[in-house]
């Protein structure tokens, strides 16, 4: 039986899973009354049924002067731990600087780049940086280095350098788009 609150009709790719056993959301400290609930069908409690969702993340902030790269990572980790999926992480504006492999964080600060890379490898996450925003900020992969005849490529290989179309395509393909602005 498939049941879902809020009407499956709104969710064209609806995949409703019964997850009463080992429900990943049990790690949440939200009490059911703490968040506004969609009305549930009679006799069906919202938490009995969960649907796996696809999220995409836009990350806009400079890793050195904003928290957004950090928060986005914490959110991405919680997303995977909750059983949902990350379709793509798109770094735009100053967010593209996270891909610069020349970052040397002080020993007493966390290495955000390293954390993103490890997390992405572990979960086969697609990390992308916007090519136009990256070029402007001196974040170049080998192709762009050669194209513009610059001295050195500095994009960590875990990141693909892509066009803005990837940002829009991800938003179209996902259930939710979440932006961490700078």
């Amino acid at each position: 039986m498939i049941a879902s609150p809020g009407g499956v009709a709104e969710w064209p790719k609806a995949l409703v899973l019964k997850t009463s056993e080992g429900r990943p959301s049990e790690s949440s400290n939200l009490s059911p009354s703490a968040i506004s609930m969609q009305s549930s069908p009679p006799g069906v409690s919202y938490d009995c049924y969960r649907r796996i969702m696809m999220f995409c993340l836009n990350v806009h902030g400079d890793p050195a002067s904003s928290q957004s790269v950090h928060s986005a990572l914490q959110f991405a980790k919680a997303t995977v731990a909750s059983g949902h999926e990350i379709y793509r992480v798109f770094f735009y504006h100053d967010g593209v600087r996270i891909a610069d492999c020349n970052q040397v964080p002080p020993q007493d600060e966390s290495n955000l780049l390293q954390q993103w890379i490890e997390f992405a490898e572990e979960h086969s996450l697609e990390l992308t940086v916007c090519i136009a925003a990256a070029l402007k900020r001196g974040v170049l992969n080998e192709d762009e280095r050669a194209r513009y005849e610059r001295v050195a490529a500095n994009v960590y290989p875990a990141f693909s350098v892509v066009g803005l179309g990837q940002q829009i395509e991800a938003a179209i393909s996902c259930d939710r788009t979440i932006t961490f602005p700078g």
Binding site: N58, Y92, H93, A132, A133, G165, I168, T177, T179, P181
Partner: protein, 117 residues
């Protein structure tokens, strides 16, 4: 899908406004239903007679004028943000619809995706 771009930055804080417009134009190319809400300092992007080249930038009002060419014609501006800056519609470079708070609520509630500058 319905995309709303919520633009709240002034036009020349670095390249942020111009980069957001680049993203809007691509959303237009993807055949999505795209609308734009100018709010807070974002309304300043619409002022006429900008000369961004003096700052080494593209003129944001000119880029915005391309939106109708990409068939993006649902442009909205927050009434309060205009009033706070004592701006009137004839000072803006594009035809926009003024939305009060209820209008903005309705607009946002109708979206699948809200993007930021």
């Amino acid at each position: 899908m319905r995309f709303l771009y919520l633009l709240r930055r002034p036009p020349y804080s670095g390249s942020l406004a111009a980069e957001a417009i680049d993203s809007i134009l691509v959303a237009g190319v993807f055949d999505q239903r795209v609308s734009v809400l100018f709010k807070d300092d974002g309304v300043l992007q619409l002022l006429k007679d900008q000369q961004g080249q003096l700052l080494g930038h593209r003129s944001v009002n000119k880029m915005l004028a391309a939106l109708p060419e990409y068939e993006i014609e649902e442009l909205f501006v927050c009434a309060r943000s205009l009033a706070e800056r004592a701006l009137s519609l004839d000072q803006l470079s594009l035809p926009v619809q003024v939305l009060d708070e209820v209008g903005q609520q309705t607009l946002i509630a109708a979206q699948n995706v809200v993007m930021n500058d």
